[in-house]
């Protein structure tokens, strides 16, 4: 289901077929169908309680689906216990063994696999180099900072050379700067090792930065699967549009192919195929609103109500004469009270089928 294969022939690594999961009668995963290719970096993204972690735990073997199949490298692995699966996990709070030092933690899996002690030593050293912590072998876990523990957790997982690495919000406990660094490092590591990564996060920016494919989930249902660009630019529904980045969501009416009415006038757009007269949700990214100091020449007029400086851009709120509030991201600033003109290019107007209330 990956819509873009980045030019590679995609060999399937994991396939989830109609996965259904209930906890005490409550459905937490509903008909999950997902295919993950070899060497792909897939992110499961969604708010808490959306089922992303449960999906990851089903792949890892820590949860069992109520129905549906988990396929791994072409084989059904539903009944294979976690300790026999060729996947390794980086846990959310690292789960390092407190009674073992760094070396013993990383060597744990290799010892279990009864590897030769020379080989273990070399591999542990290589993996500590990989996570940029050479010479930390003898350190007790207690003496490590959060970021260092996180790196050891990654080293402990990748040293076993799994076919798939599962990462359960591994960066959530780090501060912003460290998180950004680790995002890039993880991405590089994935390319370097050639391992399939399945990454769980609730941070949409993290998902967009790192992934080949993003799987947006809500309420146990996959909302959209696509590349970061695809997800951001072509959200399939209002939830995805709202969850990924900021959006202006307006009620509109589809008139005919490439023509839509909202905010009190008609706009040319690029969407086709709705029923003429059908109510639609119109999604516009705040950075796609072009503002000008010449209101008369623009499509819409609005009065600026607030301005916040955000670093790269200004975030402005403007109220149209119809009383709608628009959020605008722009590098040019208009002071509060000023009347501005707003214009939209046809391909920046995204039409979506109206969401049924309550979903």
């Amino acid at each position: 289901m990956t819509q873009e294969n980045q030019g590679k022939t995609s060999q399937e690594m994991i396939r989830l077929v109609d996965i259904h999961k209930e906890f005490e009668g409550e459905t937490v995963l509903n008909r999950i169908n997902l295919s993950i290719a070899k060497n792909e970096f897939v992110t499961l993204l969604g708010p808490s309680g959306c089922g992303k972690t449960t999906t990851l735990r089903i792949i890892g073997g820590f949860e069992h689906p109520t129905s549906g199949d988990v396929m791994f490298d072409g084989q059904r692995i539903n009944d294979i216990p976690a300790y026999q699966r060729k996947v390794n996990t980086v846990f959310q709070r690292y789960a390092l063994f407190p009674h073992l030092n760094v070396y013993e933690n990383i060597a744990f899996g290799l010892h279990i696999a009864k590897k030769d002690s020379k080989e273990i030593k070399a591999k542990v050293k290589a993996s500590l180099d990989l996570v940029d912590m050479p010479g930390f072998e003898k350190r007790p876990i207690r003496s490590l900072s959060g970021g260092q523990q996180q790196r050891v957790a990654i080293a402990r997982a990748v040293v076993n050379e799994p076919k798939v690495l599962l990462l359960d919000e591994p960066l959530a406990a780090l501060d912003l700067k460290m998180r950004k660094e680790m995002q890039l490092e993880l991405k590089n590591m994935q390319k370097q090792l050639g391992i399939t990564f399945v990454f769980v996060t609730h941070d949409q920016e993290e998902a967009l930065t790192m992934s080949d494919t993003v799987v947006v989930m809500k309420g146990g249902i996959i909302q959209q699967i696509g590349s970061p660009i695809n997800i951001y630019n072509e959200p399939e529904n209002v939830f995805v549009a709202d969850f990924i980045g900021e959006s202006i969501i307006l009620e509109g009416r589809f008139l005919e192919d490439c023509l839509v009415e909202f905010a009190g006038r008609t706009f040319p757009c690029v969407d086709k195929g709705f029923i003429p007269g059908q109510p639609v949700d119109v999604v516009i990214r705040p950075e796609d609103v072009d503002i000008s100091a010449d209101p008369a020449a623009a499509m819409l007029q609005a009065t600026v109500t607030s301005v916040v400086f955000k670093g790269v851009h200004y975030e402005m709120l403007a109220e149209t004469d119809q009383g709608q509030e628009w959020m605008i991201h722009s590098t040019t600033m208009a002071p509060p009270g000023q009347i501005i003109g707003m214009s939209l290019k046809p391909d920046n107007i995204h039409l979506m089928k109206k969401e049924v209330q309550g979903t």
Binding site: F62, Y83, L96, I112, A157
Partner: protein
């Protein structure tokens, strides 16, 4: 330094009920019978007579056997308790604790009536034509009494440690390829060692000093060091010998505790 007045009641308590009695015992163990201040080591010399050494050895052996049995029985019980869901956990613990509310002596007498030649167990076996077994007044009965009475002291410290064990550590072990047995050996057991050690301490100490269990369930045959001390104080009025036995017993306990805490710090160094 600031004086912490709230400590004074504690210090007073310690002095009156611990330090002074120990000093008194030490005094009696070092002076000639009949009081006075003429120092002697004769009481200690008697402790090392073969007869008494065998009593000390038997006490340590029976206490060790009971401790090992308590550990073998108690660890699985603690695991079952720790892994049961919260609602059941409470009722299981209550079931486990309720017998402890009954008087220690009453419970031990109950075992006597169960084990004696015309007791309940033998009567029951008699229905199947089995000859009465002599179970009471054996070393087995003494060990049984110790295990029965002290098992909770093994279960609870282990249970407390296991309950606090982070379940994600077990998942991590499983994730790294460890089957349930290996997970137990390499993660669960090493991490539960503090509980195991305090359980061992809490069972071994009362077991090595008991005199009630050995008296009731062992009859006269199984004199332990506790019985010996009791006899010196209450029957033969040889306080000097009783005191020296008490001091020796304290030294044995201190040494074994020292050994245990030493092995604890060693374990911390490295398991793999």
């Amino acid at each position: 330094m600031k004086r912490n007045w709230s400590l004074y009641p504690y210090i007073l308590w310690m002095v009156v009920f611990t330090i002074v009695p120990i000093l008194m015992v030490l005094y009696y163990s070092l002076v000639e019978a009949g009081g006075g201040f003429s120092l002697t080591l004769s009481h200690y010399a008697r402790v090392f007579e073969p007869l008494y050494l065998s009593v000390i050895w038997r006490s340590i052996l029976l206490a060790l056997v009971s401790t090992v049995i308590c550990l073998l029985l108690g660890y699985p019980v603690a695991m079952i308790l720790a892994s049961s869901p919260a609602k059941q956990q409470f009722s299981l613990i209550v079931l486990f604790v309720v017998p402890m509310w009954m008087n220690f002596l009453a419970r031990t007498y109950a075992w006597m009536s169960l084990l004696e030649t015309n007791g309940i167990i033998n009567t029951f076996l008699g229905f199947f034509g089995i000859e009465p077994l002599s179970m009471l007044y054996t070393s087995g009965a003494v060990v049984l009494g110790m295990v029965y009475n002290y098992l909770p002291f093994m279960v609870f410290p282990i249970f407390t440690v296991l309950r606090k064990l982070d379940p994600s550590l077990l998942e991590a072990a499983e994730d790294l390829g460890a089957n349930p047995l290996k997970t137990f050996m390499k993660v669960i057991f090493p991490l539960s060692l503090p509980g195991v050690l305090s359980g061992i301490t809490m069972v071994f100490m009362p077991a090595v000093t008991t005199f009630v269990i050995s008296q009731l369930l062992g009859g006269g045959q199984f004199t332990l060091i506790g019985n010996l001390i009791q006899q010196q104080y209450l029957r033969t009025y040889d306080w000097g010998f009783g005191s020296s036995l008490s001091i020796i017993l304290m030294i044995i306990i201190l040494l074994s505790m020292g050994l245990i805490s030493r092995s604890n710090t060693n374990e911390e160094g490295g398991i793999l």
